[in-house]
């Protein structure tokens, strides 16, 4: 569930970034406004996501990719 939300926010960030790009391509006052707003959205979402990831890790909802496995590999 948490992972699902995380991936969803990542996608939202990508979409915001994409809108920023569209704004940049359009140029002019309108495009500039659109670009700036999208980038603000993307920064805010990123901060939110970072906090969510750290909090979820702290609560144990997600586990880091670092658990040591006891079975060693490739024993001689």
């Amino acid at each position: 569930m948490t992972e699902f939300v995380i991936v969803l926010i990542v996608i939202a960030i990508l979409v915001a970034l994409g809108f920023g790009l569209i704004g940049m391509v359009r140029g002019g006052k309108k495009g500039s406004d659109k670009m700036f707003k999208s980038l603000v959205t993307r920064v805010s979402l990123s901060v939110l996501l970072f906090i969510l990831v750290l909090f979820s890790g702290y609560m144990g909802w997600i586990e880091p990719n670092m658990i040591m496995v006891d079975a060693p590999i490739a024993q001689k």
Partner: protein, 310 residues
């Protein structure tokens, strides 16, 4: 310049210089990898020519732009060019993310016997699939019975490069430097947004302040990244540490390269801001670099989440 007329630039030597530079760089690099004596120096020469070309070419464009000979159409062409260049960068990273997901979700479990992979017990009976500790099998890891019974004739125990491999004793802990680095890079995104805001409001002193902060945060990120590589290397996580080391270093390495380029570009933008090249309405150079930085930032976020966590 008249908006009705089209703009076509004069002839240029930069492309041919660039071709010579990049080819020299690559030929030198290839020879260096093959242990040829002059490889490294030719590579350095090619790099120098390429950098010379970049500064010369971009410098010429900046000069032409500030002297006002470009029209709106040229500006839009640059915008289109930049946006599709970025898209090609996205696809380049996509190849490496694809490799990460494929190896982690499919090939490593398959090696461990997932999906009824009947060969695994015979080939590698002491093998247990765990994502982050993949390393090359030592020659003795193929079971003797399998060899003797003829199920395995030979087995590429030595990697393509012939380089000795190592098993990492530790993997990177996302709570330490990676979390700090994420915070740094996110903060740089925030400061850059403030710089952008200041630029749109036409406040040059503020722009300079926020830009300097952004560059400093980016440089700090790079410093910590080098530190993290040092730690990881000491703990035995190397490029040669199997697929985990491969994906980890290639993804973070290419990202680090892009951060380096981004820092250089931001520095150029800082210089151009001080020269007064931009105003509140017309600042494509800034926008392009800013977007690039946001992109690099998001790539890191993806790395932090998908390499370290999920």
């Amino acid at each position: 310049m008249n908006e009705e007329e089209y703009y076509v630039p004069e002839g240029t030597y930069w492309p041919i210089i660039g071709s010579i530079g990049v080819s020299t760089l690559f030929v030198g690099f290839a020879n260096q990898m093959h242990g040829v004596e002059w490889g490294a120096s030719v590579m350095a020469l090619g790099f120098a020519i390429t950098v010379f070309m970049m500064f010369g070419w971009f410098g010429q464009v900046v000069n032409e732009s500030t002297s006002g000979i470009y029209n709106k159409q040229v500006d839009r062409s640059f915008r289109w060019g930049m946006s599709w260049f970025i898209f090609s960068e996205v696809m380049f990273f996509a190849a490496f993310f694809g490799a990460l997901f494929y190896a982690r979700e499919l090939s490593v479990p398959w090696l461990g016997g997932a999906d009824n992979n009947i060969f695994t017990p015979d080939l590698w009976n002491s093998f247990s699939a765990s994502w982050h500790q993949m390393a090359f099998m030592a020659p003795g890891s193929v079971t003797d019975t399998a060899l003797q019974s003829g199920t395995v004739l030979s087995f590429p125990a030595v990697p393509a490069s012939g380089i000795e491999t190592a098993t990492p004793a530790m993997v990177v802990n996302p709570w330490g430097l990676p979390a700090l680095n994420t915070a740094l890079l996110l903060a740089s995104g925030v400061t850059l947004t403030y710089a952008h805001h200041a630029l749109r409001a036409g406040n040059r002193n503020q722009i300079v302040g926020w830009l300097v902060a952004t560059i400093a945060l980016g440089a700090a990120f790079l410093g910590f990244q080098i530190m993290e590589y040092g730690h990881a290397y000491q703990d035995g996580l190397k490029l040669t540490s199997g697929i985990y080391g491969s994906t980890f270093y290639m993804l973070t390495g290419f990202h680090g390269f892009h951060v380096t380029v981004g820092v250089i570009m931001l520095t150029v933008i800082l210089y151009r801001v001080q020269k007064g090249h931009f105003n509140a309405d017309n600042h494509f150079g800034f926008e392009g670099v800013a977007w690039y930085w946001h992109f690099v930032d998001v790539v890191w976020l993806g790395l932090f989440i998908f390499v370290y966590w999920l």
